[in-house]
């Protein structure tokens, strides 16, 4: 299985979902090896680099893409299977940013208090140990944490003629910032415009759920994925499948609305998988759901619902395409 390779130059990045010209056209079934820049556009490289000095607010979350998928029409289901996410650098970086993050006032939770201090933490990656070293900036503390690569941003063009910043998580996916978007995951997104126009970016070498301070261990990433397409069947909100779980992601504010969205999406998915009446699906969900928060810092908050496959009867969502893509991925790696 061959793979299309694509490494954008700076002026080839997209900064929105929708509103950007396609970088490439690909056919369903195509494997792609993509390079993604980090959320800071690579401008934060050492602990003395502070976002307010080094980062232009108009150049955050550069997107690799968008890619036009041949044959994709509104109402179809775009399928993205993540084969590998490999750090493209031996360091990642996290920062606090004035009036951005979960435990500070923001432009939305608008308050009169002074901002928190701006701090940059650089994490060094030990490729052999697959670990990242956290060095405290204002205390005497050092800790190795496991490398757990994920993509913050995976999305398609929105409908309704909109173009949305790559900072936005929404119905179209986007900046959901969930650790569930990792190698081995298959993501299902409803197509809103011809060609779907998907893009990826915002690699995280690791991230806690909620992304409390507003940034993960941000890092450039080599992304290997397989694109596929299901005619029709568009989910209303993003769905993800792992070998061991089915997942839905809701993004809105307040956080309870993001949670409600994901829960209703999962009620519908359970109904589709098992022929369950809505009330029975609601009950099954109530006793089996995991409900990790993804982010409480972006323009919408994201809430994940996740049901372990081990709790559910065997089923083959989307005709078993996840299993099929896992096999293709294995072939690709071989």
């Amino acid at each position: 299985m061959d793979a299309v390779e694509y490494t954008p130059t700076f002026d080839q990045y997209a900064w929105t979902f929708g509103g950007a010209e396609p970088a490439l056209r690909v056919r369903p079934g195509t494997a792609m090896r993509l390079w993604t820049e980090d959320a800071y556009s690579g401008r934060i490289r050492q602990s003395t680099d502070l976002p307010s000095a080094c980062v232009d607010i108009n150049f955050i979350n550069p997107q690799t893409g968008p890619f036009y998928v041949e044959g994709a029409e509104p109402g179809d289901t775009l399928v993205l299977h993540f084969v590998d996410l490999e750090p493209a650098r031996d360091w990642g970086v996290s920062t606090t940013i004035p009036f951005f993050g979960g435990l500070t006032g923001t432009d939305r939770t608008a308050l009169l208090q002074e901002p928190l201090p701006e701090v940059t933490w650089v994490y060094h990656l030990d490729a052999a140990k697959r670990s990242l070293t956290f060095e405290a900036a204002r205390s005497d503390f050092r800790l190795d944490l496991p490398l757990e690569p994920m993509l913050g941003t995976v999305g398609v063009a929105p409908g309704g003629r909109e173009a949305r910043s790559s900072l936005v998580p929404e119905r179209f996916g986007g900046n959901m910032d969930t650790p569930e978007m990792r190698a081995g995951a298959t993501c299902y997104l409803g197509v809103n415009v011809p060609g779907a126009l998907f893009s990826v970016g915002d690699g995280h070498y690791r991230q806690g759920e909620g992304e409390a301070c507003g940034t993960a261990v941000e890092g450039a990433m080599n992304v290997t994925l397989i694109v596929d397409l299901i005619k029709g069947g568009a989910p209303v909100w993003p769905r993800i499948e792992h070998d061991d779980a089915i997942i839905a992601v809701g993004s809105s504010r307040p956080l309870e609305d993001a949670w409600r969205i994901a829960q209703v999406e999962m009620v519908q998915w359970l109904g589709q998988l098992y022929g369950l009446d809505r009330m029975d699906a609601y009950q099954l969900l109530s006793q089996t759901a995991k409900a990790p928060i993804a982010n409480v810092v972006d323009t919408n908050y994201s809430s994940v619902v996740k049901i372990p496959k081990g709790l559910l009867p065997a089923s083959a969502a989307y005709d078993g395409i996840h299993r099929h893509l896992r096999e293709s991925a294995a072939a690709l790696r071989a």
Copy 2:
């Protein structure tokens, strides 16, 4: 190690945190074997029993207690270690209740729509397999789910002269409805009134995170716990310790405020454990937190933050009292 046994009669239940006379006085270090009735006061026993017909709204979430802990003063830390949670019946029950739950309008999210159907699901417990059978009410579907007992409600009397319904999760603990409150957990609660006046109840044979429909698999429970006391050091919000994680629980509305509360509590705990500056603790939290939602259905929503001990340097929270209580528990079981 001896254990105080206590099985209340119906008129001995408490229905509030605060405002009830102590059922017993106990010394720190005491083991207790307590019987707790289910959230419905045992009135829902078969699938034709509907809450609107069978349950008096004034008799929900009966509490076993409160217990006066000798020597407990405001500012102290009450320590409750859960040794065993064993179902006291061979069936549990879950229902939908009109205008109650996460995916319906409620008395708070007040809407004009008609209520959802009222449905009762009875789960049969197979003690040998430690499983519960879900039988769909309106579809042809049946599924065994693992028994995973937990307590919905663990709390002390609030401060400020208040008495709060046993449906409330708050700073004093209460109806947090988190699956983290299981056998093996140690719960730390700030003491607000002399004697702490703690109580427990609302056993769940299993529950998904979020408790979407508003009720878990509710069931009477035999609870074995050890009470202990630390002078001073009261956490602002409830903390929980497992063998493999440290946890904080925030309860408020909207859900992002519950999340913020738990996160700030954990920033403080990390600072206490490792001498970390607040910004460094914020960063460490951001990259290591698990953030499961506990409930989005009670009078306050509850959000959990959980850091795996495996990610953190070894430490002994509260002078290692959790490990000590685990050993006492083992002795108690022997």
Copy 3:
């Protein structure tokens, strides 16, 4: 018409709704002249008095009452008509309080930022001009504002065996902090316990809608009111009637839920007044409502819905009791 007079000593104040013994028993139809202390228990008297130094958090919002209304039973409607609200001192005071208020992080919107500065502003009252002088504390600015007395806190004992702090606005009324609670207003509250057990307090010499900084121009108040009782007919949430408007107040979080509560209460009231179908009442509300926010700073946020009587057909809510009480009030003043 005679009036019962009552001026509590410090140890006669109540600090909760529910959980306090009645100060007096009164019959429906009784006029009362009550003295209410300010929210700070009178401890802030000059601009150098700061809340963190002068005020004990356990002694905020002293309540005058509670009063046991003869014959009041759960399900009845307590009627309080405010005849006069007259400042009892020639100064009032407002402060910022660390981590309290609408434009700062709080114990609920828990953040890591430093608190805002603590400032006390003393307003001098010119009784002849009925004005208050605002003197800026940190700028060169001085401004006379009209005296517009109101009561922050009017409530009955809650149901469900609860006792709630006098800082709480809820279904039982309480600390709603709406400028609509002024002389000439009639307040309707559902009775939850025998005797209703109402209390009043937290006088404001004036307050903006929202009470942004967390405190109004707080001041001791001489309150003249008439108590009345309607058997049955308890509104779910507090209602208020003026000569020129009907009003409902919802209190919850997030603020949209407080808004929804008040809107639904008004849909019901419109239905009762005009025999309207629920959808028609919803439509009428949509085109006629005023929706001033009351507070975004208390333990619940409060949202007001207000329909000018001038827009509506003539009607006599609660059999015209407001008009009757206006006449009694005029007689009382004469």
Copy 4:
């Protein structure tokens, strides 16, 4: 003073803020007479026309514009003074729409309940009496209400390369749905892109605050306005000036965040007008603000803060441009 006249054909409407080509270029100081279609694109004309059958979701809130203002650069302040808003038809219409509105579950407050009934109410306009007749659809009730024309939607192109649906209220203005946007109002909007690219639409013949059911009395409108430009001085969020009040509008979710945004914007404005320290401005705001809710139904909720000029010292915001435009408007009408 001459006025540019512009009546778009259907295919000349814009459906987004940003992302549309300018319809005209105008110089600051230009008067314009614009025709705006109603929110339903004119497709609902009688009580049997229901939105789900007659309205295409992609053709809601048609915008007249956008207009390119010569010389407008990012950071400038666009000034729109509304001279006249006159109904262009002798009827207006309001509807409920499934899963849209304030007292129903929505695509965001995602619930499992059935939708509310879909109802259309046609209001007849009596031009002489300047009144609208409400005829209840499901009850025997009829009521004349005053005509009070306003514009739901006034906005410029957003920054950050975004294009947003004309259903969105945001920092750029847009679908704020506040009755404050009436004849006599001057609206100040920060410019984000060269030419500002403003548009207007969504006329309401009257609307209650909050727009509870999701739609006002929607109607085509003849809009007369004067465009002006101030170099620099862009407000962060929309500001409005009347003869008797200064106003700011915040739009976000949850509603308390919309409120916070507007409050902080007003603290800044008060500081600019009177040289007030931030804490003093916070205090002045707290005792003088009116806080009507604008909408709780759109993609963002909108909260208004309004300070009566009568409470404040005389001042001339933006060098008195509002008074100047009022005079120009009078000349235009003459």
